[in-house]
Symmetry: C2
Subunit: 118 residues, 2 copies
DNA sequence: CCTGAACCTGACGTCAACGTGAGGTATGAG
DNA sequence: CTCATACCTCACGTTGACGTCAGGTTCAGG
């Protein structure tokens, strides 16, 4: 599969895919003419990368954790890092939940004020 | 209260406070000498700004929503925006929860593999 | 062989929320 | 008055994940 097709299938831009390769998050074979040629598994990998980015991990962290995420094999240091990242995500979820609740209250108040200005 | 004290009390940097003013998120009176002089309520406001930033809102959005968040009075457009932002946060929480679960599975697998390599 | 689409490699631009340094002023205790 | 802080206004630097443009190459269909 060439880069354009992978981009369309995964929903990320061609530029992003090249960037992933530059950051060593994604490999590609090359055609004799020098064009990237991806195996089908690349699609899953791109989606995994997107998930990790969406979770707020940096590309540096992702490149460190990708091996164990996809193979299930990790050094103790990698395990520590995994736990750190999971906890960071959990804390972030707490923050967002608080913020959501707060906005919810504001919305309620505003709605009440508009609907029943008294 | 001067800027240094507000910074210490709120936990944000002096630079950040000046930035908030530049973005019209925060006002200040001035001493005859030109130094910023904040009322006590500024502390709450800074904390509110931080909460909204932490929720992933941009300063542009915050400046639009701050009035109704602090006064409880909103135009219909502001209410729409509030709902949009709340839903955005909810979606983000979903993403993060999925990612956290995923990382949790990885951690379980890795731990199992390390503890009981069989 | 020809052509248009898709691809290639640089390399500079973007955006947000500040950090940081320069060079000067205000404040308040002694 | 003096001096140490704290403060002031520019204004450029930083970071991450790409966007975008330039200038050239490869591929596939006819």
């Amino acid at each position: 599969m060439r880069i354009g097709q992978l981009a369309r299938r995964s929903g990320v831009s061609v530029r992003a895919l090249r960037y992933y390769e530059e950051q060593r998050l994604l490999e590609s074979a090359r055609t004799p003419g020098g064009q990237r040629d991806y195996p089908d598994e690349a699609l899953e990998r791109v989606q995994l990368i997107q998930d990790l980015f969406a979770a707020g991990l940096s590309s540096r962290t992702v490149v460190e954790l990708l091996p164990c995420v996809s193979t299930g094999v990790a050094t103790p240091a990698m395990l520590d890092q995994l736990i750190i990242e999971r906890d960071r995500i959990a804390a972030r979820i707490q923050d967002l939940t608080r913020a959501k609740t707060k906005l919810g209250h504001v919305i309620e108040n505003v709605t009440a004020a508009n609907v029943a200005p008294d």
